[in-house]
Amino acid sequence: MSFKDQMDFISQHLKKNKLRVFMTVLAATMGCAFLIVLASVGFGLHKTLTDEMLDNQLINEVQIYGKEDESPVTAEDQQKMREMENVNAVVSRSFVEGVTSIAMEDRTGYGDVQLTNLEEEEKANLALSEGTMPTKPNEIVIGYHFAQNLLTEEEMNAQSDEEVPTGYTKSMVGKKITIELTPLAEENNEPKTWEFVVSGVSKAPSKDWMMDQRVLIDESHRTEFLSFTQPDVPVEESYIGVYVYADGLQNVKGITDSLKAEGYHVYSVTEEMETMDLFFTVLKAGLLFVGTIAVLISSIGIFNTMTMAVTERTREIGVMKAIGANPKLIQRLFLMESIWIGVIGTAIAVALSYAISYLANWLIPVIVLNIMEADGMEDMAITISTIPWQLVVIASVISIGVAMVSGWRPARKATKIDVIQALRQEL
């Protein structure tokens, strides 16, 4: 019997019991949709947290906190790191403490003053919204939001919760700023000032809520600054944050592992993601397991439908066998019928799950944010549910597999039907 004739045969039987078949397909659909939607929450939350993590950090950055032998990370070490495979840049940043004020014209403010290698910063990702990278030792780059902190005395006095001053709104490029430092040592607290010219302003951060108030000064001033603010600490022993930048996210793990092997204390986004991935893998497996129970419950429906179909069609099966149908063909026809129910149920479930997922992603964040009255979270992309193709494949295999298994016993029963007994059945 050709495959098409087998399919015609099955569809004829399915049409005869439309309501029963519909209810069975519905049960299979509900079971499979429950499985997909449930697991999609695990995938969705995983995606939300991963995206948040990647958005909030420089994903190709590997931070070095020091060495296992507690010796400082030297310039020589940094040079070796630069020579490593897939390393784009190595930046060493010293954070200047004791900043009393930063002034420009009649405005004063604060900032996050860092001494760094600006050439390496540029290679690492530092992009400018205006101006150019410094070419002279007294030129600096400021963060995108730095100018907002520069306020006149009048603006400072007028500050209130309702109205936040906008600070300096004109271009900062070419402006002179004065940085006043006070040493941390108690016995000498005479402040000293340095003058710099702004050559460039960094690009706005990726998130609205992120503030970039950096003041990036070339590392040639490091000795001068650090020996003034911390005269008791030798410059070479002062804390330097070293950051290694990979040329792509895929290489971060390799670089992290190499640096660890070489005895550095390191942290990268992949470290955190590995732990998170493990947690979510376990969570997703658990959700799939719970969802599979729903599919198994729905399979009882398929089993019942197929058992009833075999019982109802005993005489027809007997006639088929009498005129020469192979028992294997009879088994295949019934098995195909239960698979058909599984396939249709799964197909509808997949479409339904995507619709539910879309609705959940649209509706739930709106409701939650409204209930919590959370300000400033509008731009936070919350994904409640995600259905990757792998989930569709897993759910389809489980659902169709369960349909096959539940149809197998009735199909076997059909092949065992005794022709003589079947032919004796009344119409």
Partner: protein, 232 residues
């Protein structure tokens, strides 16, 4: 063509553990030649239907040999028997045994579908047969829309459609009125003459048995004559 030799079969009846063994066929030997109509007659319980079931392969005899077209069929597996039936036997049943969900055309077509014959070829064969058995007007009717005689014609056409050399008929007119019975018997005779098909007819009705070239009579599972030649 059909050589049944010393076939014996016993049924076990009654509760498990207290079964009673009842012999239904006792050393039955029959030879049937190509192109013959052979009737097997007997009262109810004489074993004639059991003989047909054993011949068709619906059950395996306890002992004895059954050769059909020089092939020993008593030892075939269920699947092999199914294939053998599909290629060599056509069946006509007392209560027609048509598929209620299929039209007359589709019922007749069924053995060809099982054989995997192409749709176009099936259409030609079935249409030719439908004409031959006089069912053109009701080809698209379902069995419950047909009279008893029409249903039996569909059943005969289904038995013939794959050109089997042998047709086994179990009380072919048992559910029909006498007028329709004559029509069906006439059809069987004409098919036998025109196509040379061998018919084995099981019946308790002497009138039906009389269309056969030879008649065997069974009584309590044993043959009481050796195939009386009957002049049709």
């Amino acid at each position: 063509m059909i050589h049944i030799q010393d076939v014996t079969h016993t049924f076990s009846i009654g509760k498990k553990g207290k079964e009673k063994r009842v012999p239904v066929l006792k050393n039955v030997s029959i030879d049937i030649n190509k192109g013959e109509i052979v009737s097997i007659v007997g009262k109810s319980g004489s074993g004639k239907s059991t003989l047909l079931h054993v011949l068709a392969g619906f059950m395996r005899p306890e002992s004895g040999s059954i050769k059909v077209l020089n092939k020993e069929t008593a030892s075939l597996s269920e699947s092999e028997h199914a294939e053998f039936r599909l290629n060599n036997f056509g069946f006509i049943f007392q209560n027609f045994q048509l598929m209620p969900g299929l039209t007359a055309f589709e019922n007749i077509e069924l053995p060809l579908k099982l054989k995997g014959v192409a749709k176009s070829e099936r259409r030609v064969n079935v249409e030719a047969l439908i004409q031959k058995v006089g069912l053109s007007a009701v080809a698209d009717h379902y069995p419950n829309e047909l009279s008893g005689g029409q249903q039996q014609r569909v059943s005969i056409a289904r038995a013939l459609v794959s050109n089997p050399p042998i047709i086994l008929a179990d009380e072919p007119t048992g559910s029909l009125d006498s007028e329709t019975e004559h029509e069906i018997l006439h059809l069987i005779q004409s098919l036998n003459q025109s196509l040379g098909i061998t018919f084995v007819i099981i019946t308790h009705d002497d009138e039906v048995a009389n269309i056969a070239h030879r008649k065997y009579r069974l009584h309590d599972g044993a043959l009481v004559n050796g195939g009386t030649l009957h002049v049709v």
